[in-house]
């Protein structure tokens, strides 16, 4: 897919590249492709990669995008992939000012991909890797039949959120077969309680019965712990299954592919607000201070406000991100940070605070390197920002059947935000026991943090895990504050209070 940019856009690209470099944005080489709407829908349906493994869900996405475009419901402006070189797509027929805006925006994204530490372990040759995955899976399909492979992929995708979302630095799993460990460790640990030497008649005083019992109990507990499998609850359920589920070679490989892609996409989900905020910050800076011509101002303003607009009651990551970056820049420019500022209790003084330290730019570059959405909001979202952005929490009112504004207290807003972002809004599921009831059954535990799982989906997912694990699968969770054990034995779902 090589489409040369027309001279006008080529020139604009060069101009924007120089400006971006001048600001210190450090990107991979960026290759812009000019494609028509159908091509952009195709690529978008495949998640940005021209070659993916065959699967119907891409077709579904394509169907949806195509119809949305045809009926004018939505339109893709920007599509950029984290790869070296970085590929980005421009849609043919968009006005030149839009194309420029997208280019500037893409420079922001690419800088973020390259420099944010959460992306540091991602595969920068993912374009090729995805194509390799496609080839492998196509081979399996040729050998085993489309439906067999597709059904298996469906099962894998059904649990592709059960990875250790925050361990982006962990590439290979460190789960080991416990049997090896068990023998090693057992030889090191005492098997019976140590006794002091004593004469017979002193035995009961030197080695009192109760003490010996206690010691033996401790040793037994220690051994039981060693026998646990996995040793510690395992958050990377996919890795656990790859290692220990009775899968065939091709199945293992497909599950690994699904896992690898899940890990690849994880940092993008973890930095959505920051990434979009950063890119928006830079497109607005580059456009308004350099590139924009007089005749383009209106169109630019229209497009930009469309990007950062939020309907009442909605939170737009672009808006949130750009505003927070700007806020940080201003605070660090004026020196509104540190002990002295924090301890100042005069709101008037705080309001007018300006030490003219001018550290803003430097600070936001640092922030874009070190943070993800959770730490970003946790560190920088404060009361002033909350009020200024009119943030509130909302909830569902069962009585009226409507969503309502609940509170405007900034601490609650922040808590709610952080909560919804933790683990990307995904439930935390751990492998607790791979030999549950000593029958080779799988026990998963849902770390319940206030929200119940959707019951229907959960049972369907358990069924899928059952087909991977091959033995009964259990899930410990809570419904309406009541601990429940959901079990599937291949025939039906059992539900009992635990």
């Amino acid at each position: 897919m090589r489409h040369q940019l027309p001279p006008e856009l080529h020139k604009a690209h060069q101009e924007i590249r120089e400006i971006a470099r001048g600001y210190g944005l450090n990107t991979f080489d960026i290759i812009f492709e000019l494609v028509d709407y159908d091509e952009i829908n195709e690529v978008a349906a495949l998640g940005g990669y021209p070659t993916r493994y065959p699967h119907w869900r891409f077709g579904m996405e394509y169907d949806y995008l195509n119809k949305s475009y045809t009926y004018g419901l939505q339109k893709i402006y920007e599509l950029v992939i984290n790869n070296d070189p970085c590929y980005a797509y421009l849609q043919k027929g968009n006005p030149v000012v839009d194309q420029k805006l997208v280019m500037a925006h893409v420079y922001g994204h690419c800088d973020f991909f390259k420099n944010n530490m959460w992306f540091s372990q991602t595969n920068r040759k993912m374009l090729d890797e995805m194509a390799n995955h496609a080839t492998r899976i196509r081979e399996f399909q040729d050998r085993l039949g489309v439906e067999v492979v597709e059904n298996f992929i469906d099962q894998c995708l059904s649990i592709d959120n059960l990875i250790d979302q925050y361990s982006v630095f962990k590439t290979a799993t460190n789960t080991q077969k416990p049997s090896l460990l068990l023998e090693e460790r057992e030889s090191e640990t005492p098997t019976s309680a140590g006794r002091f030497q004593s004469k017979d008649y002193l035995e009961n005083f030197v080695n009192p019965r109760s003490y010996i019992d206690e010691q033996e109990k401790k040793i037994k507990e220690g051994q039981d712990k060693l026998r646990r499998f996995p040793l510690k609850p395992e958050r990377d359920v996919l890795a656990f299954l790859i290692n220990f589920a009775p899968l065939e070679g091709w199945q293992q490989e497909i599950l690994s592919i699904v896992r690898e892609e899940a890990y690849y996409f994880a940092p993008q989900a973890a930095t959505k607000i920051m990434n979009e905020g950063w890119a928006s910050y830079w497109h607005s800076t580059i456009m308004t201070q350099h590139v924009l011509k007089d005749s383009e101002v209106i169109d630019y303003a229209d497009h930009h406000s469309g990007t950062v607009s939020s309907r009442p009651g909605q939170l737009n990551p672009y808006k949130m991100g750009i505003e927070l970056f700007r806020d940080i820049e201003e605070r660090w420019n004026k020196g509104k940070f540190g002990k002295e500022y924090d301890e100042c209790e005069d709101a008037g003084v705080k309001e007018k605070w300006d030490k003219q330290v001018g550290l803003g730019r430097q600070k936001i570059f640092e922030v874009r390197r070190l943070h993800n959405d959770v730490t970003f909001l946790d560190s920088f979202l404060n009361e002033e920002f909350c009020v200024q952005q009119k943030l509130f929490t909302y909830g569902f009112n069962r009585r009226t059947g409507q969503y309502e504004i609940v509170d405007r207290d900034w601490r609650k807003v922040k808590n709610q935000l952080l909560f919804s972002l933790s683990n990307f809004g995904q439930p935390i599921i751990l492998v607790e026991d791979g030999n549950f009831q000593n029958r080779g059954e799988l026990l998963l535990v849902h770390q319940h943090e206030g929200l119940d799982l959707e019951f229907d989906k959960a049972t369907e997912t358990i069924k899928n895990i059952f087909s991977l694990w091959g033995r009964p699968v259990h899930l410990m969770t809570k419904y309406n504050s009541q601990a429940k054990l959901l079990s599937y034995d291949g025939k039906e779902i059992h539900e009992k209070d635990a």
Partner: protein, 367 residues
């Protein structure tokens, strides 16, 4: 360029059609796909297929938004609010899937295990078609067959020793020329006539009409897929019968008594005037709540059916839609009188769920 997505798209469509097939029974009784009809296809709404995940239930989870308003201010109904989550994750959308009537008929046939219809009077009506199949040595220049002509000329030159391999020039003369010719192909053509009759007397309510509408949609789909040309006529009756168009048929409500014979007379009249029975496959469907005015009229109906109407038809179907008011006597009378007659089928349709069974009764005969 990218071929992958097209294949994925095809595969997706296949899967969706599989879903429709699985749920055909549901679609058959709900009638929601009627009215979403194009010329050759119907649009069927299918819920987006998704892969199950462990995920949080929607309701409990509140969220953070921005904008004006006091605590307690409503943000709208559940459905509208979907947007909040949709900002970052994909929302749920319904897909409209286009299925051709032919495909739908095939699904129907498989679901109900319908036999193919054996049209009567096969070949009695034929259409002519020209097909270019042969070669002739005379003909118009426009049909000249260059290759054959060349071959003939080559043959002749070799035989007569005029052919020089070093200078292979072939010059055809008049008798070398070959021309394409055509044959008249007689194709048997089967036409079908469907006559729908419905009782619109006061006792037939909206619910009953809805059932008739759904049922007739599927009957249409099936018969259409079996014949090339189809005429559909509609007759409504209370004490008197008249022919109407489709819209009127489904939306008329009269009050007054019921003389079923009036409809049968009109139907008979229509058939004998316009549709010679050796050229048309005739299907008659009559829906009523089974409440006829008098026993005499029922007698008249039975006579009409026995003597004239049933012998003319491939199939005469009587569907009795249960209603609160009807006595439902008529179906019993018919069953009594036509036990032996394979071309007359009766079926009781108590409610929407019964549409499925009744379709099978009507169409399961393969006539």
């Amino acid at each position: 360029m990218i071929t992958g997505i097209k294949r994925d798209h095809q595969r997706f469509k296949q899967i969706v059609k599989g879903k429709i097939k699985q749920n055909l029974k549901k679609y058959m009784t709900q009638g929601e796909i009627i009215g979403r009809q194009g010329k050759d296809y119907v649009r069927i709404p299918v819920h987006q297929i998704d892969l199950p995940h462990f995920r949080f239930g929607q309701r409990q989870s509140g969220g953070v938004g921005s904008g004006d308003g006091q605590p307690g201010t409503s943000l709208g109904q559940e459905g509208e609010q979907n947007g909040q989550k949709a900002g970052s994750s994909e929302g749920e959308h319904t897909l409209d899937v286009e299925v051709t009537l032919q495909e739908l008929a095939e699904m129907l046939a498989q679901e109900l295990e319908l036999p193919r219809i054996q049209p009567k009077g096969q070949g009695s009506l034929s259409s002519q078609k020209n097909k270019y199949t042969g070669i002739h040595n005379v003909g118009p220049n426009s049909l000249r067959h260059l290759k054959r002509t060349y071959r003939e000329a080559l043959k002749r030159q070799i035989i007569s020793g005029l052919y020089d391999p070093k200078n292979p020039v072939i010059v055809p003369i008049k008798r070398d020329f070959r021309f394409r010719t055509w044959k008249n192909i007689q194709k048997p053509q089967n036409n079908a006539l469907i006559v729908y009759m419905m009782d619109v007397s006061g006792s037939m309510g909206d619910e009953q009409k809805e059932i008739v509408r759904t049922e007739s949609f599927w009957i249409d789909t099936w018969i259409r897929s079996n014949y090339k040309d189809i005429d559909i006529r509609y007759i409504i009756h209370d004490a008197a019968a008249r022919e109407v168009d489709e819209n009127t048929f489904y939306h008329t409500r009269e009050s007054g008594g019921t003389l079923i014979s009036s409809a049968y007379k009109l139907c008979l009249d229509l058939i004998s005037k316009e549709y010679p029975i050796d050229e048309w496959n005739i299907y008659v469907f009559h829906f009523s709540d089974g409440d006829n005015w008098s026993a005499e009229d029922t007698k008249l109906c039975v006579d009409l059916l026995k003597a004239d109407l049933v012998p003319k038809c491939n199939l005469f179907c009587y569907g009795q839609v249960e209603s609160r008011y009807g006595s439902g006597q008529f179906i019993k009378d018919l069953m009594e009188n036509f036990q032996e007659e394979g071309r007359l089928v009766t079926s009781k349709i108590e409610n929407k769920e019964a549409i499925y069974r009744s379709l099978k009764e009507f169409l399961g005969k393969g006539k």
